[in-house]
Every structure is written in structure tokens, then in C-alpha cells.
């Protein structure tokens, strides 16, 4: 549900970029989105469209590229993908820590704070929690096109 906040941050950053660089119009925005964020893409697109209306990024094409998540254990050296810990990510969060949404649905705190992953996930090989997220954790603007 925080897709609207993320879109608000993205649009605010586009507006300040357009002003700084003297862009009249932004025509394409490519965003790299970490798999670990489990972004609700339709909600995010909807928010982006609404929030860009009337500004320099109005009607810009929004391209969303998912960056696969990869992890590496600092204890045993194992590397793994999202799919290998998906079960832990979706079922490893205790019920009383699941974030409440307005409609009564529950969402994982990892959806909002992907960097908390070592609190809820353990290395599939050694069971340790001391691991790195090598990729696929956050949102970045990877490409912009516009007109001066």
C-alpha cells in the first residue's frame, strides 16, 4: 500500500531533476525495482499517472524493470535467489508483526522495509542470519528521456 508514497517520492525527484536540468518535458522514466520490494506494479503505475498529471512528467512512459534479488551468506558463502527463500519471506513473519492495511489485509514488513530481511530470513544452507543482499533490494531511476 506504500506504492503511492514511493510514486510520490519518484515524481518529486523527477520534478526537481527537470527544474535543475532545465527540462521542459520528461518523456520516459525507467525505474529499476528490486524483486525483494514485491512492488504492486498496477497500483504504482496508477499512482504515477495520477501524481505526474499537470507537471513536466505528465504522460511520460513509465518503464519498470525488475531487478532479481540475490543473497550471499557471510558465514558459509552460499548464494541464493528470491525463489529459494520465498517461502520464508512469505511465511517467516510472525502474525503479530504483519502490517495492517486499511481494508484489513495484512502485508509483510519486508514489503515496506526490504533491508529488514535478515530479521525474517535465514541462509538456506547454514541457517545463519549474517548475509548480504547483493541485488534486488531497492528502487532506482535507471534511465530518463526528456526535452529541453
Amino acid at each position: 500500500m506504500h506504492e503511492w508514497s514511493l510514486a510520490q517520492g519518484l515524481v518529486a525527484s523527477l520534478h526537481s531533476f527537470a527544474e535543475r536540468e532545465g527540462l521542459r518535458r520528461i518523456t520516459l522514466v525507467e525505474v529499476s525495482v528490486g524483486e525483494l520490494m514485491e512492488l504492486d506494479v498496477p497500483v504504482f503505475r496508477d499512482a504515477f499517472e495520477t501524481l505526474t498529471r499537470g507537471g513536466p512528467a505528465d504522460s511520460a512512459e513509465l518503464r519498470i524493470v525488475e531487478e532479481p534479488a540475490r543473497f550471499r551468506c557471510r558465514r558459509c558463502g552460499a548464494e541464493w535467489t528470491f525463489a529459494e527463500v520465498e517461502e520464508q519471506i512469505h511465511r517467516g513473519v510472525p502474525e503479530d508483526l504483519m502490517v495492517r492495511e486499511p481494508g484489513g489485509e495484512l502485508e509483510s514488513p519486508l514489503h515496506i522495509f526490504p533491508d529488514l530481511v535478515p530479521a525474517f530470513v535465514r541462509c538456506p544452507r547454514c541457517g545463519g542470519r549474517d548475509f548480504e543482499v547483493l541485488a534486488g533490494r531497492d528502487m532506482r531511476v535507471s534511465r530518463l528521456e526528456g526535452e529541453r
Binding site: 508514497s5 525527484s13 523527477l14 502490517v99 530479521a119 528502487m139
Partner: protein, 262 residues
């Protein structure tokens, strides 16, 4: 124009939008744990709120979220379109990552702590606030640098105790504040003395607060005594500000300084 843009971070921009709705940010730090920083930050938030201000308290201490605990808040978090909602307690809006992870350990690298701190600051939907009191974690790592870097015109309070260890830690933090251009509101000395029926003794040792204040061109705003009522209140789950008159007087002086500097 067609490029991979530099310096474009949605969370930093979002944080900027949030801060636009907050009157003033007060950073409360001590450089080390165990000196009563969370007692001071949560008491200040309560005192400002009691005085009629709209106040938020952000506990950034990932490993020992004592300010959130003193405020008696617990999870789970609630989210909506506007972000993650703080939890209201005694009139203060409180946010802490403890609300997301409970008692689980969070073995995150320094860089990860920095990103979590930025995400927590950017995604929390405070709405309109007069004051946001930020309880800084110990040290001078990424999780301290994020608020120092991204909150322009923040003011800082330094909390210490009469001990050379506490002095050395808080001095490092004060140097950082000074060099990063953070305005230092003043110094609060905790566990400063004991009032034995009118006779004042200092069981912890010599006070360094005045020396620090002189070095950094600031003032000692309050000295909080060792008061058994503080520990008793914590054990009973009541905020110590409601039980210790000496604490209330000391924090009242700090709140007065904060209000006077608007």
C-alpha cells in the same frame, strides 16, 4: 536529453516532502548508550505535546529502541496510501523499527542501517507536526549520518552523564554536529546528582557538562538528578515524566529552550 540520471533518489525526495510539513526537527544524541538519551528524548516529546504542540518521536535506535518502549507503543504497524502510520501514545506520534521487527535481532550492515533509516524517515506519514524529536542511535555511523545529512536546519541536544567515558562519546558527536553545521541547542546532563534531603552529592563522579558547553559555545540546559521514582515508573510501565518532579522540572527547562528558539 537521454541518460542514466545522477542524484535522483525517490526516498530522499519523499523525505524532503515529509519534512516540509514539520516545523522543526530536534536530534537527541549521546554518542553512547546507557546515559538516558531515550529518557530525555521521550520526556521532551511529552513535555512539548503537553504544552499543546503537535509532536512526533522517531526512535532510530535499531538495536535498543528504548524511547519507543518508554512510550509504551507496540506493533503491528499500519500502512495506507500515505505511507506507514506512527502509533499515538499519550498525545505523541511514535515511530520505531521495533514496531516492524518486535524482539527479533536485525543483523544489518552499516550501509543497510543507513538505508533502513532513510526508508523509515521517508515512509512514515507524520502529517503536520510542530516538532519531530529524533532519538539518535549510539555512534556516528550511517544511521546517525542520514538524519544529519538530510534534515536541513535540524537542531541538536546532547545528553551525557558525569563520566569521562560519556564525555568522550558525546564530544565526538558534538564535533560531528559542529562540522556538519547542525545547530547545538544545548547539553543535558543526566544522573547528575542525588538530592539527599537537601544535601546534593554526585555519586557518578565529576561533571564535564560545563566544560563541553564552553568548548562548543553552547549551554547546559538541564541537570537531571538520579531519582528512584524514574526507575520505579519504568518498571510499572508509566512514563517517568509523570512520576518524577525533578525530571519534569529539568525537561521543562529544555522544552522552554526549544520553544523559545522557534
Amino acid at each position: 536529453m537521454d541518460s542514466a540520471p545522477e542524484g535522483l533518489d525517490p526516498l530522499v525526495s519523499l523525505l524532503g516532502e515529509r519534512l516540509g510539513r514539520i516545523g522543526e526537527v530536534i536530534l537527541v544524541g549521546s554518542g553512547k548508550g546507557g546515559v538516558g538519551k531515550s529518557l530525555v528524548s521521550s520526556s521532551l516529546a511529552l513535555a512539548l505535546s503537553d504544552g499543546g504542540s503537535r509532536v512526533g518521536l522517531l526512535d532510530l535506535d535499531l538495536h535498543g529502541p528504548a524511547a519507543a518502549r518508554l512510550m509504551g507503543v507496540s506493533g503491528p504497524l499500519e500502512s495506507w496510501r500515505g505511507g506507514v502510520r506512527p502509533v499515538e501514545s499519550m498525545g505523541v506520534e511514535v515511530m520505531s523499527l521495533a514496531l516492524a521487527v518486535g524482539d527479533l535481532p536485525v543483523p544489518v550492515s552499516g550501509e543497510g542501517k543507513g538505508r533502513l533509516t532513510l526508508a523509515l524517515m521517508a515512509l512514515t506519514d507524520w502529517g503536520d507536526l510542530d516538532y519531530l524529536v529524533v532519538d539518535l542511535p549510539p555512534g556516528t555511523g550511517d544511521e546517525v549520518m542520514i538524519p544529519v545529512r538530510h534534515v536541513e536546519s535540524a537542531r541538536a541536544l546532547a545528553v551525557t552523564t558525569p563520566s569521562s567515558l560519556a564525555r568522550d562519546a558525546v564530544r565526538r558527536l558534538l564535533v560531528l554536529f559542529r562540522d556538519q553545521g547542525v545547530d547545538i541547542l544545548g547539553i543535558v546532563e543526566n544522573q547528575a546528582y542525588v538530592d539527599c534531603g537537601g544535601e546534593v552529592v554526585s555519586p557518578l563522579g565529576r561533571s564535564f557538562a560545563e566544560e563541553l558547553a564552553a568548548e562548543f559555545g553552547t549551554r547546559v540546559l538541564a541537570r537531571i538528578p538520579l531519582d528512584p521514582a524514574i526507575g520505579r515508573a519504568v518498571d510499572e510501565g508509566i512514563h517517568p515524566l509523570r512520576r518524577s518532579g525533578a525530571l519534569a522540572d529539568a525537561v521543562g527547562a529544555v522544552a522552554g529552550e526549544v520553544l523559545g528558539r522557534r
